[in-house]
């Protein structure tokens, strides 16, 4: 089982849960199972095109999965997967 940590802004859409245990073969499957269990999360994690939104970062045992095998990164018992958004914004489009 993998421990999946949910950041504070997404917890209201996951029944207030901050951590849950998930059985999944890889990172992508874990996120899919999360959104199946808590459908309101899907709008905020995925774009209309089904891609992870740009501010969504996934860390497996404190390493960004982009540096591993992305959503294909395999999971093992005792792994800790964290969803951590980048917080970004700004006043206008860059010139």
């Amino acid at each position: 089982m993998t421990i999946l940590r949910i950041p504070s802004p997404l917890r209201p859409y996951a029944g207030g849960v901050s951590e849950l245990q998930i059985q999944a073969e890889n990172v992508g499957q874990a996120i899919e199972k999360l959104t199946e269990q808590y459908p309101p999360l899907r709008t905020h994690l995925f774009s209309e095109e089904g891609e992870l939104r740009p501010f969504v970062n996934l860390f497996l045992n404190e390493e960004d999965v982009r540096h591993l095998q992305g959503q294909e990164t395999p999971l093992h018992d005792g792994d800790k997967l964290m969803i951590l958004p980048s917080i970004a914004g700004g006043s206008q489009r860059p010139s």
């Binding site: 950041p7 504070s8 802004p9 997404l10 917890r11 209201p12 859409y13 309101p40 709008t43 905020h44 740009p54 501010f55 970062n57 860390f59 964290m82 951590l84 958004p85 980048s86 917080i87 970004a88 914004g89 700004g90 006043s91 206008q92 489009r93 860059p94």
Partner: protein, 146 residues
């Protein structure tokens, strides 16, 4: 929908925006929800992690800083409840870029800083369908934060 903010924390937010001008300054809001209202208990100014050339109209708080902020909040029995950031020489309304990158549930306090002086702050929350922001009223408390 109101967000309660001690005056000294509003001053701290404004000071941060003035100190980072002409670049955008940002940080986290720590607090709690009480019924339908939100109370800010502390603010955590943070570095703007955007590259130098973009900081005049962009800010980034890294996931690592958010994680550290969450740990600090949890240790104090609080939550990270939002973000504050400044708009140098620009209105304190969310931009389309703000909307694209916004996370739900958070309060976004935006401060307009004109010619180095903080003018006014407004607070916004992303609608659940992500199509717009809804404004929430900032209520300034005269009590000092703890």
């Amino acid at each position: 929908m109101n967000i309660y903010l001690p005056k000294d924390l509003m001053d701290k937010i404004h000071d941060h925006g003035e100190g980072t001008y002409p670049e955008e300054g940002a940080g986290l809001l720590l607090g709690r929800d009480e019924d339908e209202n939100r109370v800010v208990v502390d603010v955590l100014p943070l570095p703007n992690n955007r590259e130098d050339s973009a900081r005049h109209n962009r800010y980034v708080i890294t996931p690592q800083h958010l994680f550290e902020g969450e740990k600090q909040a949890e240790a104090r029995g609080l939550d990270v409840i939002g973000v504050f950031h400044s708009h140098p020489d620009h209105p304190n309304r969310p931009s389309e870029f703000d909307r694209t990158w916004a996370v739900p549930w958070f309060s976004y306090i935006i401060t307009s800083v004109e010619k180095g002086q903080a003018v006014d702050s407004r607070s916004w929350r992303l609608a659940d369908d992500r199509q717009k922001f809804n404004e929430e009223r900032i209520v300034i408390m005269e009590t000092v934060s703890r």
